[in-house]
């Protein structure tokens, strides 16, 4: 018996569990379609590989479910440092495809430690934001959480893996918001980024400057403080084109490829076009399982992970896509609900963190397949092939199931 005690079973949020299992099965069905004619061993075939990875994933999910909340809380910092060591380890090995993302463990597959670090960061952050009776109104109490997140993020950026780095950063804002940080402080965190990005476009920069002034005016900080904030941002913005031009061309290139990698010889634009064509030609009900021309003729790149939704769009159609996205939306909002209902700060914060990771994965992946944002190699939770991420997703599922039950701790 997985859920031995009847009282707990009653409280287990089964709709979250069923949603996850439904998405996993849909993913397997799509992977089976791709793998139909693939020859080679167990680990070359995405379907059987995914099926194999499900075993440790489900086992870890159950293990987490039976781990006492206090234990998770107690060891969250230790796990955080363990996680940091794990992301540093690949740097000691030879680079694979020019990156240090993967860890060789002597098995016919590799592990991507940055996936697991996402969880460690969330629990560490949740512990920091819940343990101390923080004065969240003070700006300084926002700084330590940011350092906690930036540390692994910067390491991952060095791998380099921009997609995962973005996901690492994502939970910080919702978690701070959940923990009670003021809206103005969160805005101040984001302001310099906007200043730098808009600086390359006159109209955008002007609009931003007006908006900045307006928000500072409304929030009424001390006069001197307001002035410093405003002009600090403006100068940063004005200075960034100079800074950019001061970089050597290869340094500029390095940053540009980080933002828009084109590891595919035909270019990222080609991938997006093929993906959109696949999805669009699927129509309302799709071309039928295993019959997508874009998919089966291999026009669609990385179909088993980054572009798996395009396969689904082509072969199963809009209805299937809408159902999957709706189920995922429901799944995420349910986690948010339990996070809100939880009376335990730590549990609540872990759950909002997990929800953010799930949602940002889905958003970045899906928006990429339909050409809303540039190509970022991120998988779709529960559906895309990918052992490390599947395991991570199930660990997060286990955390959510665990912490949502015991909200009265």
């Amino acid at each position: 018996m997985i859920f031995p005690r009847s009282t707990e079973f009653r409280e287990l949020p089964t709709h979250i569990l069923w949603s996850a299992l439904f998405l996993t099965s849909v993913g397997l069905a799509v992977l089976k379609s791709i793998s139909q004619h693939s020859s080679g061993g167990l680990f070359q075939n995405p379907f059987s590989k995914q099926l194999l990875f499900l075993i440790p994933a489900v086992m870890l999910c159950i293990l987490i479910y039976y781990t006492p909340r206090s234990l998770i809380h107690k060891y969250s910092y230790a796990l955080y440092f363990l996680g940091i060591i794990l992301v540093i380890l690949p740097f000691f090995g030879a680079p694979q495809a020019g990156t240090h993302r993967w860890l060789y463990v002597g098995l016919p597959f590799t592990l991507q430690p940055s996936e697991f670090v996402k969880i460690c960061t969330i629990t560490a952050l949740a512990r920091y934001l819940s343990d101390h009776n923080l004065q969240m109104k003070k700006f300084t109490s926002v700084i330590i959480p940011i350092i906690l997140v930036l540390f692994p993020t910067i390491i991952i950026l060095q791998q380099p893996d921009l997609g995962t780095a973005i996901i690492m950063i994502a939970p910080i804002l919702p978690m701070l918001y959940w923990a009670g940080a003021s809206f103005f402080h969160l805005f101040l965190l984001l302001a310099p980024i906007f200043s730098m990005l808009t600086a390359f476009h006159t109209l955008a920069f002007t609009t931003w400057a007006v908006l900045l002034a307006l928000i500072i005016f409304i929030s009424r900080p001390k006069f001197m403080m307001g002035l410093i904030l405003f002009f600090g941002n403006i100068f940063l913005g004005l200075f960034s084109p100079v800074l950019w031009n001061g970089l050597k061309p290869y340094q500029q290139n390095r940053i540009l490829t980080l933002v828009n990698p084109s590891d595919d010889p035909l270019g990222a634009a080609y991938q997006i076009i093929q993906s959109k064509t696949a999805i669009g030609s699927g129509g309302l009900v799709g071309k039928g399982w295993g019959s997508g021309t874009q998919t089966q003729l291999k026009f669609l790149p990385v179909q088993e992970s980054d572009f798996i939704l395009s396969v689904m769009g082509e072969e199963l159609g809009f209805i299937a896509i809408a159902v999957v996205l709706f189920v995922f939306g429901y799944f995420s909002v349910q986690i948010l609900k339990y996070s809100y209902l939880s009376k335990d700060r730590f549990s609540s914060l872990v759950m909002i963190g997990c929800a953010t990771i799930f949602i940002s994965h889905v958003f970045v992946n899906t928006a990429m397949t339909v050409g809303l944002i540039p190509v970022k190699g991120l998988p779709f939770p529960f559906i895309s092939a990918g052992g490390s991420f599947l395991i991570t997703s199930y660990i997060m599922l286990g955390l959510v199931l665990k912490l949502s039950i015991n909200y009265s701790d």
Partner: protein
């Protein structure tokens, strides 16, 4: 719902949930836009967007002889393929194709099943089509939607020679073959891969690189032409290989070996280059290109004469008396044996409780070492070898390259066997063998086994006083070198002058090899090797010195009798041929 100890307010939850639904709403909306509103446009695009990647087979490199004559070439044939997804009325079409190209329709559908890799991949229907057959199919193009053909170069052998064991065979890459390869991504099903001989050893030089063409194809499978932005690449033909072979010599020795069983090797002593090599019986190399019939294949494979066995690399033979020079060298180098020592041969020799006979039953009478070499007297060696330990003899065998690889540049070589003390202890038990074994080994009988290619290397070493390069079949800048046997000059002198006497002395066992060509000096040694398979194997090894060049010849005739009577005359024919055919300018 709102409770004081909740960490966030209901408003905060609503904001988060609202934002989440907004994001999912945007995504679903975008899918609605692409899949429902813009369906027609994308659907059309998908239909016209079938870029088919077609790869074209690269012709393998040619194999040439030392004078640039083509020995192995390519012949253009066509392969018929079908794209299952575009193929309707399969049975009808297969029937039609078979009548046009004159094949059993079963063969076509069998091939279809064998090569099927999914509905969208080209699947092979038939191979080895001629231009004629393809033209006839082309006339009915309209009925053959989904059927395509591509150029496919096949091996063929334009010269007079077979050389089947030298060139080896190419094999079609099927699923099993492909899975067994280390660089499997470089091969597609239906490709040809070198499977033995030079074709295998130099596969990476010969194979070339596939060309790639991107065709744009519409929903009905009609080709719309090349894709604009994707430049087609032409196939890169494999590199040609120049062998050390001489077409005329190879042809001549293949002629000699017709209806015989054994090996002839002809080479240049100094450079180690092989001018001709036959292992007989062999097989027709053309059999392995194109469609080989199951029955033909079984016939070759089950032939008791083993035509597939490459005898000069893989045949292990007792060498008989041709290795007496090894024993001679061991006696002179390791035992300080006085070559003027006289022993009496009366046709037999009692050692322990066994009686060892000489091949000349009447006995040679009183002989010194030179006399023993010239007459190939066994008794003399039985008596002289008492001065040696088995391991000393074994060491000398190894110095001359026996018992180890010659590193010949075609795969599959076996090492033969040089028994030493450890080997004999292990094989027979510590006390179950005696010095009697040495008596057999010193005349090239008993446990010792050699391959003809090792014998060629040994012969080259004798001819060059140890300075020969290792035998090889392909011209290379730096041929592999031998470790030079460390013999005293007097020893070399004696071995070589004795081998000269074997040919010139009136009692010499090799006198039948003397071609009587002015200016040509022939050196040699015969061997008649007893074996378990019937009549003795006839050996002759020898080289001819002429115009600063050394031509070495190894002849082995299985179960043919006496080396001096059967093998030596063939060597004479070869020396004559070399002289006649103006091949004396090699350097």
């Amino acid at each position: 719902m709102l409770k004081a100890d909740n960490i966030v307010t209901y408003r905060q939850f609503l904001a988060a949930a609202g934002l989440t639904w907004c994001l999912f709403g945007i995504l679903i909306g975008r899918f609605f836009q692409i899949q429902i509103l813009e369906y027609d446009w994308y659907s059309q695009k998908a239909n016209s967007n079938r870029i088919r990647k077609v790869t074209t087979t690269a012709p393998r490199g040619l194999i040439l002889d030392r004078n640039g004559q083509i020995l192995v070439d390519n012949f253009p044939t066509y392969v018929l393929t079908a794209i299952p997804w575009e193929l309707s009325d399969k049975g009808e079409k297969f029937e039609f194709i078979s009548t046009v190209i004159g094949l059993d329709s079963n063969t076509v559908s069998k091939s279809y099943k064998k090569y099927y890799r999914g509905r969208f991949n080209p699947t092979r229907l038939a191979k080895d089509l001629t231009f004629d057959q393809v033209s006839r199919l082309e006339e009915s193009r309209i009925n053959l939607q989904g059927v395509y053909y591509e150029n496919f170069p096949e091996r063929y052998f334009p010269s007079r020679i077979r050389g089947s064991h030298i060139f080896g065979i190419v094999k079609e890459v099927d699923r099993d073959v492909r899975n067994s390869l280390r660089n499997k991504e470089e091969y597609e099903l239906g490709d040809m891969i070198g499977w033995s001989g030079i074709e295998k050893r130099y596969e990476n030089y010969l194979k070339g690189e596939r060309g790639i063409i991107f065709y744009e194809v519409d929903a009905f499978g009609r080709e719309l032409g090349y894709v604009k932005d994707l430049e087609p690449t032409d196939p890169e033909p494999g590199l040609n290989i120049i062998t050390t072979l001489d077409l005329d010599i190879q042809y001549f020795i293949e002629g000699i070996m017709k209806n015989r069983k054994g090996v002839i090797l002809v080479g240049l002593g100094d450079s180690g280059e092989i001018l001709g090599a036959v292992s007989a019986p062999d097989f027709d190399p053309e059999l392995f290109t194109g469609l080989i019939l199951e029955t033909t294949w079984n016939e070759i494979r089950n032939n008791p004469e083993k035509p597939l066995l490459n005898r000069f690399l893989q045949g292990m033979y007792p060498p008989g008396s041709i290795v007496k020079s090894v024993t001679q060298a061991a006696l002179l180098e390791k035992a300080d044996f006085d070559p003027n020592t006289l022993f009496h041969c009366d046709g037999s020799y009692q050692f322990g409780d066994r009686l060892f006979g000489c091949w000349w039953q009447e006995g040679h009478g009183e002989l010194d070492l030179t006399g023993a070499m010239v007459n190939s007297c066994d008794i003399y060696f039985y008596k002289a070898v008492q001065y040696l330990e088995l391991d000393q003899l074994a060491e000398m065998f190894i110095e001359f390259g026996f018992g180890e690889a010659t590193q010949i540049d075609i795969p599959g070589e076996v090492y033969g066997l040089v028994p030493d003390k450890d080997y004999m202890n292990e094989r027979h038990g510590r006390y179950n063998w005696s010095k009697g074994a040495l008596l057999n080994i010193c005349i090239g009988q008993g446990e010792v086994l050699v391959t003809p290619i090792q014998v060629l290397n040994y012969l080259n070493l004798l001819a060059t006083r140890g300075n020969a390069y290792r035998p090889h079949l392909v011209m290379v800048d730096e041929p592999p070198v031998n470790e030079i046997p460390t013999l005293k000059d007097e020893t070399w002198d004696r071995i070589i002058s004795d081998m000269r006497l074997v040919i010139t002395d009136e009692n010499g066992t090799g006198k039948n090899a003397e071609p009587d060509i002015p200016g040509m000096l022939v050196y040699g040694k015969t061997g008649t090797a007893e074996n378990a398979h019937g009549e003795s194997h006839a050996w002759f090894i020898g080289w001819a010195e002429y115009a600063d060049q050394k031509y070495s010849v190894v002849i082995l005739l299985e179960n043919a009798g006496s080396g001096g009577k059967v093998a030596a005359p063939i060597a004479k024919m070869i020396f004559n041929e070399i002289y006649k055919s103006d091949k004396l300018v090699y350097k």
